[in-house]
């Protein structure tokens, strides 16, 4: 057993950190977040061409790097730390994961190389009714000719207004719950697709509304088996939750680090405020939160890795994802919230970055289920099944 990054994984992490320190500065983040697209297209090109990050866990046969989820998580943690504004999460952690889990050979052979070449992708499944379960899927698919007609409205779609490739969930009319759910992959410029940017409180992660109005797709757009896609979609969502937890751990760590730096400089009552015990103890609690979160995250990363590679540990994906998402959501919010408090008045200004972390903490907490949601999901597993082993 070696529950630590290998040297190669440390290198991937450090390379990501160095690159992001250079390109994802506070000024760069603020410039990107104030655009509707939410990212700098020239920088994204650099990421794709120089760093090749979009290809990290795309199999080599499709032109990717063929690395695992632990390596992906190591990078995501750094993106969270530097509030990186990019379509990376939507493209890689939603799009690529969905294609790898649910896509057939032809779909993988078509879309994965496109992503390697720099196209972006995202996943749309939830409607406005607020949940993250299969009930959230209200868009419908109707067999029409050799293909399908898709209708419905999706909200909270990550980068939905800019993505080139859409993966959407839709259900058979009249079906409910986990039954009747199908997944489709289509180009975002397909006739009948309209997309609208939804301005968000956290400006570093863009969301959109996607409306499908009589969109006609061929049979080749169907991913997996018609009407039986929910378990696969759930797996994709759990992989995405692990990815978000990585962003949260990175953000929670940075919230702590920039706060401690400030505490060491600011003088009140003739001493640096870092010397006051009330302040030290708050910082210690922040460290406990983020380190415990990191433990949960790295375990979930190993599980996610095996879920994608067919290892035995993969069976724990739902549980590990919920454990990580529940803890890291609260840890990030706690650390960013304490950060504002410990900065004092400047923590409440637009100028200081802690507010950006505070907002990103909340948006990542809500997205794909907050801590209470994931605890209830675990409670069902622990309390509603047969007697605990």
């Amino acid at each position: 057993m070696e529950f630590a990054f290998t040297e190669e994984q440390q290198m991937i992490r450090d390379t990501a950190a160095d690159f992001l320190a250079e390109v994802s500065t506070s000024e760069a983040v603020r410039a990107a977040m104030n655009t509707e697209a939410g990212y700098d297209a020239a920088l994204w090109d650099r990421v794709c061409q120089e760093m090749f990050w979009q290809a990290i866990h795309i199999p080599e046969e499709h032109g990717g790097m063929g690395l695992g989820y632990v390596e992906l998580v190591a990078m995501l943690e750094q993106m969270g730390r530097y509030l990186f504004c990019s379509p990376f999460f939507s493209t890689v952690c939603l799009g690529v994961n969905a294609l790898r889990i649910a896509g057939n050979e032809a779909q993988q052979a078509q879309y994965l190389p496109e992503i390697v070449a720099g196209k972006t992708a995202t996943l749309a499944y939830a409607s406005a009714n607020g949940g993250w379960d299969s009930d959230a899927i209200t868009a419908t698919c109707t067999a029409e000719g050799a293909g399908y007609r898709l209708d419905g409205t999706y909200r909270y779609v990550s980068d939905g207004h800019t993505a080139d490739i859409l993966i959407v969930a839709a259900r058979k009319s009249g079906s409910a719950g986990d039954d009747g759910v199908s997944l489709f992959v289509l180009d975002a410029d397909t006739v009948g697709v309209s997309r609208k940017w939804l301005p968000t409180m956290d400006q570093t992660r863009k969301q959109a509304e996607v409306v499908l109005n009589g969109v006609v797709v061929g049979a080749e757009a169907l991913m997996g088996e018609a009407g039986k896609a929910w378990p696969q979609l759930q797996q994709v969502l759990d992989l995405a939750r692990v990815a978000i937890a990585a962003d949260q751990v990175g953000g929670a760590q940075q919230s702590l680090d920039i706060t401690v730096d400030y505490l060491q400089e600011r003088v009140q009552f003739g001493r640096v405020i870092a010397s006051y015990q009330a302040v030290k103890h708050k910082a210690a609690d922040m460290m406990v939160k983020v380190e415990a979160g990191r433990s949960a995250l790295y375990y979930a990363a190993c599980v996610a890795d095996e879920a994608l590679s067919g290892g035995a540990l993969g069976a724990e994906l739902a549980e590990a994802a919920s454990v990580a998402k529940a803890w890291c959501s609260e840890a990030y919010f706690f650390n960013a919230g304490c950060g504002i408090q410990l900065f004092g008045g400047v923590g409440f200004t637009a100028e200081y970055d802690i507010q950006l972390y505070f907002k990103r903490a909340k948006s990542t907490e809500t997205f794909l289920g907050d801590a209470a949601y994931h605890r209830e999901r675990l409670a069902q597993q622990i309390l509603d099944g047969e007697a605990a082993a």
């Binding site: 529950f3 415990a292 675990l378």
Partner: protein
């Protein structure tokens, strides 16, 4: 990252499980799940017999080097042993202070003579130890010990005078390791010595202290001209602090390995209860039970990370969160147990004050955040040593 154990380690796991299945039965059936925090007073004679049984099988002190009678077991194997031991319901160890604190200290800092004299008794599960650190005026501020040790030229022995307090299991122990001041002019951590003191002598008096559980796991220990051979000081006079701090390293490391599985047993008992009494349907309790589950999983991952640190046993700075994390988690679990029990939580097994297992767990968890460095002291340590914040002013 690699989470699985090697085939050799899995084989070791089977060996441990098999030995426990074959031996923790018959006359020892009754000690299963007994002892340990909150239940330390139960079946002491039977549990001491079990310690000898463990020793016969070669299952005491497995982490000690082979040359001192251990198995030289790797960290992984020690984790496995502790997990299987807890899974099988192995009783709370009485020998743990000797095995995980006194023994490793003597191995690391002791003389050859001390090794010959003390290690075999610990290995055989026959000789028990207690830890004489805290005093009425030296708790968190351990360096403030006042107990004195004077070298008596005439007899060639040390004479110890003073008082220790909160000494767990002193009433069951043959020996106590004592920190005492060898240089009467000294202050703080300078001028201390680390002594191996025989309990069975006229100069040592043990008085039990009743705990809030109604039982007495710890004691006051008085030293009135207690005698200690000049060969029974570990290191030189004045080295006591260094030796004691090395020992705290052992305490925070390997000795907490089995914990997670013990906690799992407690958690499972709470889940079972919640399903039986309907608490499992209460939305607020469901959230808290799931939260405890999340916390317990993370506890295990924390220790896996911590143990994947340096091969030399050195800990990464993130290991500093470990004590604060588990103590706080366990204290919350105690309260959760009572809240799941509901009104029944008040009702004792018997008068005058016979607590059931969950009740004594609940009460005992209030001490988890006190002994071994309080939560406040842990936060000081994290802030100062892990985050580099200024040290506390000293009076």
């Amino acid at each position: 990252m690699k989470l699985s154990f090697s085939p050799e380690d899995e084989q070791f796991r089977e060996e441990v499980a098999q030995w426990l299945a074959d031996n923790l039965c018959g006359e020892f059936e009754e000690v299963r799940h007994r002892g340990g925090p909150g239940d330390e007073h139960h079946m002491v004679a039977e549990r001491k017999a079990w310690e000898r049984k463990l020793a016969e099988g070669g299952w005491t002190c497995i982490g000690w080097p082979k040359e001192y009678g251990g198995r030289g077991a790797s960290i992984e194997q020690q984790v496995i042993f502790n997990e299987e031991y807890a899974r099988a319901g192995g009783p709370g160890r009485i020998g743990h202070i000797g095995e995980t604190l006194a023994g490793p200290t003597i191995i690391a800092f002791g003389s050859e003579e001390q090794k010959q004299k003390y290690l075999p008794g610990i290995l055989r599960g026959e000789v028990f130890w207690c830890q004489g650190y805290s005093e009425p005026s030296a708790g968190s501020d351990l360096a403030n010990v006042k107990t004195r040790a004077e070298f008596d030229e005439a007899s060639g022995k040390w004479r110890i005078n003073g008082q220790k307090v909160w000494t767990s299991l002193a009433h069951e122990s043959e020996y106590c390791f004592v920190i005492a001041r060898t240089d009467p002019q000294s202050v703080a951590h300078k001028g201390l010595g680390f002594f191996l003191v025989t309990m069975d002598q006229p100069g040592v008096t043990v008085r039990p202290i009743e705990q809030l559980t109604g039982t007495s796991e710890f004691n006051e220990v008085f030293f009135d001209d207690a005698v200690c051979d000049d060969t029974d000081i570990v290191g030189a006079p004045g080295d006591g602090w260094k030796v004691a701090m090395g020992l705290l390293g052992f305490e925070r490391g390997v000795s907490t390995l089995g914990q997670q599985m013990l906690f799992q047993n407690e958690f499972d008992a709470i889940v079972k209860l919640a399903k039986e009494n309907g608490a499992a349907k209460n939305p607020a309790l469901r959230q808290r039970i799931a939260d405890a589950h999340v916390g317990l999983k993370i506890l295990r991952y924390n220790s896996m990370r911590m143990l994947s640190g340096g091969e030399d046993g050195s800990l990464q700075k993130e290991a500093m969160i470990y004590k604060l994390y588990w103590a706080t988690w366990h204290r919350n679990l105690g309260k959760l147990a009572m809240d799941v029990l509901g009104q029944e939580s008040e009702i004792l097994d018997e008068a005058p004050y016979e607590l059931n297992r969950l009740q004594s767990m609940y009460l005992f968890t209030r001490s988890d955040t006190i002994y071994g460095g309080t939560n406040q002291i842990q936060r000081n340590i994290i802030a100062e040593r892990a985050l580099g914040m200024p040290r506390e002013p000293r009076g």
